[in-house]
């Protein structure tokens, strides 16, 4: 019995329950697909379903990874501006850029049809108003996020500077 289980495991790579669960999942998904075919929308449905994976994994993710490395490489020299101070005593700038930019991009990603006006014709017909205020609203939100983040950075830098000055004073020999 054990030998048979071992042979199965070495052949398949996991226990029999694993295969059973996967088979059930695919059978059920197959039934759902038959309903999609019945609704006469399978081509568009399949294109959007696979397109969703491709869009996230091969477009969106490379884009924000590239954006993140750009932020990282830019914020290092930027943080060195101002009074010279050893690196360890200076708070890192990178997350004070990364977080507000990331949040603003998240809002843009979700609400792009309103912010960029793609939904304007349908929206105006249905709601009776224009989508035009959304761009300014998003810019304001992005500005507030950047402002709060910048303020926090200034505070941290000021606090780090004060600590460094105190440490230097304590370390210097008394006259």
């Amino acid at each position: 019995m054990n030998r048979r289980a071992d042979r199965w495991a070495s052949l398949y790579g996991a226990g029999p329950w694993h295969l059973l669960g996967l088979a059930a999942c695919f059978v059920f998904a197959g039934y759902v697909v038959s309903r999609v075919v019945g609704a006469g929308i399978w081509m568009g449905f399949a294109a959007w379903f696979v397109g969703a994976v491709v869009l996230h994994d091969l477009v969106l993710w490379p884009l924000y990874s590239a954006g993140d490395s750009a932020v990282r490489s830019l914020s290092r020299p930027l943080a060195r501006l101002g009074r010279a101070r050893p690196d360890g005593r200076r708070p890192a700038l990178v997350n004070h850029v990364r977080v507000p930019v990331g949040l603003a991009c998240l809002l843009l990603l979700v609400w792009a049809p309103l912010i960029l006006g793609g939904a304007e014709p349908n929206y105006r017909a249905a709601v009776g108003l224009s989508t035009s205020p959304y761009l300014a609203r998003w810019l304001w939100v992005a500005l507030v996020l950047a402002g709060v983040s910048g303020l926090l950075y200034a505070l941290r830098r000021w606090a780090a500077g004060r600590n460094a000055a105190r440490a230097a004073r304590d370390a210097s020999p008394r006259p």
Partner: protein, 398 residues
């Protein structure tokens, strides 16, 4: 961590979504938007008329919680994406089949979020009707999610237990150490120095959720907090008049003109008898006033004070005893979905179910359904048919 948040959150989103399916009373004629659903749109109970705010809460939760989970989903996908580029791509049959099921999981998740988010912005770029696609997409995603949880939950719990949340919240960037190697090989062998602590990442993702929630939840609220819905499709202001609340679809967009809704309009009421009523006839009947919400499938809602004739009184007028008949309301609307909607026996019998003629003390405006519109407690917004031209009561076979 993100996985467990998604597990709880997405189950709530899925259950509230399926409840919305039931709220459409799909067994009544013309109500089911997915007629070929087979076993997938099963129907368990008649949708109740109280509490009146239930659909407002469940559907608001479905949409707003979904929006709030967007950053968590993105973070979860970001944390596992190195496995996508695993080499060699397949190590065993088991792994190959499991990876295939991940197409259903990731595709389903992104598909559901994308179609829902585009739909609430009225950005209909997908080449299919939203209703069947979002229902069937949900079932494919749920099947893949159930499997994923069954296979991975023990490991997820072990991963969460391996770290104390309290200690992580006290660990700054300087104290952040790389993850020890794991059996899945997801942890990089030679990681770059960290630029963000684990608590920093949690704050970043949680901050994203707070921003999404804070800028959209206002469209489910009334009063001054509604103005906080800066980035949400339906938190808009029209003015300060009695009819200046959110319009779902304007009369013009559905081909309804002021002329046909004017003095020549007559309401046909059909039951045992068939009669025609003018707006003055309706105003001469006993009028009742209730504060009832309009709660849209798109997740926005607002409560207003409606005055009108009870549907039950109109049923009696054509020889139907309330509690014995369902009704189909037909609209002047020429184009688009929901030119008619059927209400259940229970909905007709509820004394708060009105054919509303006034709102907040004024005549309902053309965009809100003049000369008369249905308003039913706890029903999805689109079942409150506007510009009603006919009420067709039919006895239910028992």
């Amino acid at each position: 961590m993100f996985g467990l948040v998604l597990l709880v959150g997405l189950v709530i989103v899925a259950v509230t979504g399926l409840l919305s399916y039931a709220a459409y009373e799909p067994r009544l004629p013309g109500n089911d938007m997915t007629p070929g659903k087979g076993l997938l749109g099963f129907y368990l109970f008649d949708w109740p008329t109280h509490p009146v705010w239930m659909y407002r809460v469940t559907q608001g939760t479905h949409v707003i919680l979904g929006l709030t989970l967007v950053p968590v989903l993105l973070a979860k996908l970001w944390s596992v994406i190195p496995k996508l580029f695993d080499w060699p791509p397949v190590r065993s049959i088991a792994q190959a089949v499991e990876r295939a099921s991940l197409v259903l999981l990731v595709g389903g998740a992104v598909f559901q979020f994308a179609t829902g988010i585009l739909n609430i912005q009225l950005y209909y770029v997908f080449p299919f009707s939203f209703y069947p696609a979002h229902l069937y997409g949900a079932w494919i995603f749920l099947a893949a999610l159930a499997l994923h949880v069954a296979v991975r939950l023990p490991r997820a719990i072990r991963a969460v237990r391996s770290r104390s949340l309290r200690r992580e919240l006290r660990t700054s960037l300087a104290g952040t150490r790389p993850e020890p190697p794991d059996p899945d090989g997801l942890v990089p062998a030679d990681p770059a120095p960290p630029t963000m602590s684990r608590r920093g990442l949690l704050a970043f993702v949680g901050g994203g959720s707070v921003v999404m929630l804070g800028l959209s939840v206002g469209q489910t609220l009334d009063g001054p907090l509604r103005r906080t819905a800066l980035l949400a499709p339906r938190g808009r202001e029209y003015g300060t008049g009695p009819n200046d609340f959110q319009i779902n679809k304007t009369a013009a967009s559905l081909g309804v003109t002021a002329a046909e809704a004017g003095d020549g309009w007559r309401l046909t009421v059909a039951g045992v008898d068939r009669i025609q009523l003018s707006r003055d006839d309706l105003l001469a009947m006993p009028l009742h006033t209730y504060a009832l919400p309009i709660a849209c499938v798109e997740g926005w809602s607002t409560e207003q004070v409606w005055t009108g004739v009870r549907l039950a009184d109109l049923a009696r007028l054509v020889g139907i005893a309330p509690g014995t008949a369902a009704v189909t309301a037909r609209s002047l609307q020429r184009v688009g979905y929901f030119g008619q909607a059927s209400l259940s026996t229970g909905q007709v019998a509820d004394p708060r179910s009105l054919l509303a003629l006034r709102v907040n003390g004024a005549d309902v405006s053309l965009d809100h359904g003049f000369p008369a519109r249905v308003i039913v407690p706890n029903a999805p917004g689109v079942h409150n048919t506007k510009w009603v031209r006919e009420l067709d009561f039919r006895r239910e076979a028992r």
